[in-house]
């Protein structure tokens, strides 16, 4: 509705990665992901990240797009790191922190949380940062001597293995996110589904027709924005009939959601029927062999990418065996 609804995250540019055959990109992504999983050495993981950055540079996609996909996963990354650092008890102890939970600490934490929610009423910016600051502050206040009686004390030990593994996990996940973003940012959704269709064609021998599935997926993707527009229209129409999705009791709300869902179902069915008729009128027969206007073709660059990918896989296996 706002005109900023983008499906998939394809970024239009003209680089050698954009021009690669989608099948090449899919297979390479798969192989390279295995490669990243095989590598256990932290330095080689860092080098891999560097190589991926070179790939990103050559793809002509702005780096901010990649950082955005990391931002989405930021919470997951932080929590996996925290868990590794806190609960991994192998190797040498690097540092020990002791905390003392007191009654006043609990009061302070409550106060901080209330402040956090109050700030949320005013501004919605930097919520993650605010939360982290509050968390750090809450922990810090437990280390200094405050009045009132102590409830319990506890210690946190940081081990070097823990730090190491945390870093390794972090690098690995960032590698994976970067690789898969490279695929989705440089390949159109339709190309992706065409590539998948072509890759899974051999499944026909066991009675699975991939072209139907590919068609279903691409139609489903195509209709998401259309249906969102329809939903917005119905929402407005019901709002002008006095439906208020924000206020009201629970049973009212259920009724109001029904007033959106039923028309949506009807519209979806009607559209499906129209589309089916239109497709049949233009000679679409489910399961029949179809030709495509954009034929997928392997070029020299595709072969080169395959070769490099295999070398990368070999190198990673060699590195794990040798190091």
């Amino acid at each position: 509705m706002n005109g900023n609804m983008i499906l998939g995250q394809y970024y239009n540019a003209n680089s050698w990665i954009h021009r690669l055959d989608p099948r090449t990109k899919l297979i390479s992504l798969f192989v390279l992901m295995i490669t990243v999983f095989i590598i256990t050495n932290i330095y080689i993981l860092a080098i891999t990240l560097g190589l991926i950055f070179i790939l990103i540079m050559s793809s002509k996609v702005p780096i901010t797009k990649f950082l955005k996909s990391i931002k989405i996963m930021a919470a997951l990354l932080i929590f996996t790191m925290l868990f590794q650092v806190l609960f991994n008890t192998q190797g040498k102890i690097l540092a020990t922190y002791s905390f003392d939970m007191k009654l006043i600490n609990i009061a302070i934490i409550m106060g901080l949380l209330i402040i956090y929610f109050l700030i949320g009423k005013i501004t919605k910016k930097f919520r993650m940062l605010q939360f982290l600051i509050i968390a750090v502050l809450a922990m810090y206040l437990q280390t200094i001597a405050l009045p009132t009686q102590s409830l319990f004390t506890y210690q946190i030990n940081i081990y070097d293995e823990g730090l190491f593994t945390a870093l390794k996990v972090l690098l690995r996940i960032i590698n994976l996110i970067m690789l898969s973003s490279l695929l989705t940012l440089t390949t159109k959704p339709t190309d992706l589904s065409n590539g998948l269709e072509s890759l899974f064609k051999p499944l026909k021998h066991i009675g699975l027709n991939t072209s139907i599935f590919a068609m279903m997926i691409s139609i489903a993707l195509r209709f998401i924005p259309t249906l969102i527009n329809e939903a917005n229209r119905i929402l407005k129409a019901q709002a002008s009939r006095g439906v208020d999705f924000k206020e009201g009791k629970l049973d009212d709300k259920i009724k109001q959601i029904v007033s959106l869902l039923i028309p949506m179902f009807i519209i979806a069915y009607r559209r499906a029927e129209d589309l089916a008729n239109a497709m049949e009128a233009r000679g679409y027969i489910p399961g029949a062999e179809r030709t495509s206007i954009n034929l997928l073709k392997y070029h020299v660059s595709d072969v080169l990418v395959f070769v490099v990918t295999i070398i990368a896989l070999g190198a990673s296996i060699a590195s794990t065996i040798l190091l």
Partner: protein
């Protein structure tokens, strides 16, 4: 009282960075609509912002800048007013309203609006609205088996049942057969004349404008180009040409007669009887 727009602009999407230009759907629209007796036509090319404007009047969109006054409720870009009472006073019938129907029976669907607005005797007002629309025989039917025109009548009855002070209809006659169309417009005319309700309709049909409406608003690319009586509009050739509007059939015929026969004739007549009288007058003087 009534509705007052002062310098209202509206954009569906405001970019976050201030450098990027905002694409306004409505630009600087100012107009007054009385709470009674208005019968206004909103015309303009596709994409000129007609639907956006009426959605603004129903506070489904809030103005990006400017001020909107609906029966004393002042609405600006970031005001927090209860919207429900405003929506009760200004009823909006959407283009293709048949998509909003969802209840099991026609009666229940007509009752849906009044119930939401807290009308006490929802069933009674629903039955009355159905009688006005002439669909009392459909009340117990399932709405999904109805024809398109019947569905539209049900949807309009649903809005009428909430008894709004101002009734807005977005292309109410699209997809109706000629008889249903003129019946419906006649009905609107009675509502306007007998119950003194203000009515605004979006239309592309200049014959509808000439036959029924009192006042016309012309939008072009989000700007209000004209606001006045239909007679002033049709006599203003510049506006008609610039905004891709057309003349009503009667005016076209009289214009042709005037140029072909080279007679002094006032071609701006808006119904058959007036046109006939005018032609008769001209013939009388030429004898």
């Amino acid at each position: 009282m009534g509705i007052k727009l002062s310098n209202v602009s509206f954009a569906y999407y405001v970019p976050k960075s201030k450098k990027k230009p905002i694409r306004f759907t409505l630009k600087d629209v100012s107009l007054n609509i009385d709470s009674q007796d208005e019968f206004i036509g909103l015309v303009g090319h596709t994409g000129s912002g007609k639907s956006t404007l009426v959605q603004l009047l129903n506070v489904l969109n809030l103005p990006t800048s400017g001020e909107l006054d609906i029966f004393g409720n002042v609405i600006k870009a970031k005001t927090k007013v209860k919207l429900k009472p405003i929506r009760k006073t200004v009823g909006l019938v959407f283009q293709f309203p048949e998509y909003q129907i969802f209840e099991e029976t026609v009666l229940k669907d007509i009752m849906f609006g009044p119930k939401n607005f807290g009308v006490k005797d929802a069933e009674k007002v629903a039955r009355e609205a159905a009688e006005i629309m002439g669909i009392t025989d459909l009340l117990d039917r399932r709405p999904f088996n109805l024809s398109g025109g019947q569905m539209r009548k049900v949807a309009i009855a649903g809005i009428l049942a909430s008894n709004p002070d101002v009734l807005i209809l977005d292309e109410p006659t699209a997809g109706l057969d000629p008889l249903a169309k003129s019946e419906f417009l006649d009905f609107l005319k009675t509502v306007n004349e007998e119950y003194h309700k203000s009515i605004i309709i979006i239309t592309h049909d200049m014959d509808v404008v000439s036959k029924y409406l009192k006042r016309v608003l012309v939008l072009k690319q989000g700007e209000l180009m004209f606001d006045g009586s239909k007679d002033d509009l049709f006599r203003n050739e510049e506006i008609i040409r610039d905004c891709n509007l057309d003349y009503p059939e009667i005016v076209k015929v009289l214009k042709k007669l005037k140029t072909k026969l080279d007679v002094k004739l006032d071609e701006y007549q808006y119904n058959v009887d007036d046109a006939f009288k005018e032609v008769e007058r001209v013939i009388g003087t030429n004898k």
